[in-house]
Amino acid sequence: MIVVKVQTDDFDLSAEIAQLRHSNGAVGAVVSFVGVVRDLNDGAAVSAMSLEHYPGMTEQSITTIVEQAQARWSIFDALVIHRVGDLLPLDQIVLVAVTSAHRGEAFQACEFIMDYLKTQAPFWKKEQTPTGARWVDARVTDDSAASRWTQACVENNSTIDD
C-alpha cells in the first residue's frame, strides 16, 4: 500500500508507524525518516519557514517514485507525509516510512525515496531570517541547466491524455 499525504497539519509518528506495523504481520522492520526545521541554515538564524508545492504533481510524482522503490526492493508499504504552509524551527516537515520483512530493503527504499523528495518533488522552502525572507537555495552541484536549453526537439512520450 502506498499512502502520500500533503498537509498543513502535523503528524503523529507513533500513530502512523503503529498503523503500518498492524497492517501486516509479516512486517519485521520499519525505517522512517523525519525531516525537521533547523533553527540555523546557511549561516543565518531561521525564525520561521513556509513551504509551497505544486498540487497534483506533488502527490503524483511521489507516488511514482514509491512505485519505483516497490519494484526495486522487497518492501511492503510506504507512507509519505509532507507538510506545507507555515512551520517553525524544530517542527516536523516530512515523514517517509517504509516497512519490510528485513531491514536492509527498508533502509535502502527509505533513503531512495528521500533522495527523490529532496531533488525532484516540487516543494519550495522560504525562510524568515533576521535580514528578511529568502527562498532556500537548492544544493545543486554544477547543474548543467543552461546547456540543456540548447538541444534539438525530440518527441515526448507523454500526451495530455496521460
Binding site: 510524482s61 516540487p122 540543456r148 507523454s158 495530455i160
Partner: protein, 85 residues
C-alpha cells in the same frame, strides 16, 4: 497552440504571476522555444528566463527536458530547483 503556464516559488514572486493562458505560434514547438518566447517579453521575464538561470519545467505535471515537444492544451509549469524534504 494554447497552453496553460504555472509559476512557483521565487519565480512566481518575481514575475508576480501565478498562472496564465497563452497562445503561441507554431514556431514555438519545444520547451526551449517556450522559454525563449517568455524571455522575449523583456524586463523581469528576460531576467528570470535568461539561459543561465536554473529552472525546471514540467509538462502535464511531469518534469521534461528543453528539447521536449510542446503538446497543445498542455499544463506547463516553470519553477526553481526544488527544496523540499
Amino acid at each position: 497552440m494554447e497552453l496553460k503556464i504555472l509559476y512557483f516559488a521565487r519565480l512566481r514572486e518575481a514575475l508576480a504571476v501565478r498562472e496564465e493562458q497563452v497562445e503561441v505560434a507554431a514556431s514555438v514547438s519545444t520547451i526551449a522555444d517556450l522559454r525563449a518566447w517568455l524571455s522575449a517579453r523583456g524586463g523581469v521575464w528576460a531576467h528570470e528566463f535568461a539561459p543561465e538561470r536554473q529552472l525546471r519545467v514540467a509538462m502535464q505535471q511531469q518534469v521534461v527536458d528543453a528539447d521536449t515537444c510542446l503538446v497543445a492544451g498542455a499544463e506547463l509549469a516553470f519553477f526553481p530547483p526544488v527544496t523540499g524534504g
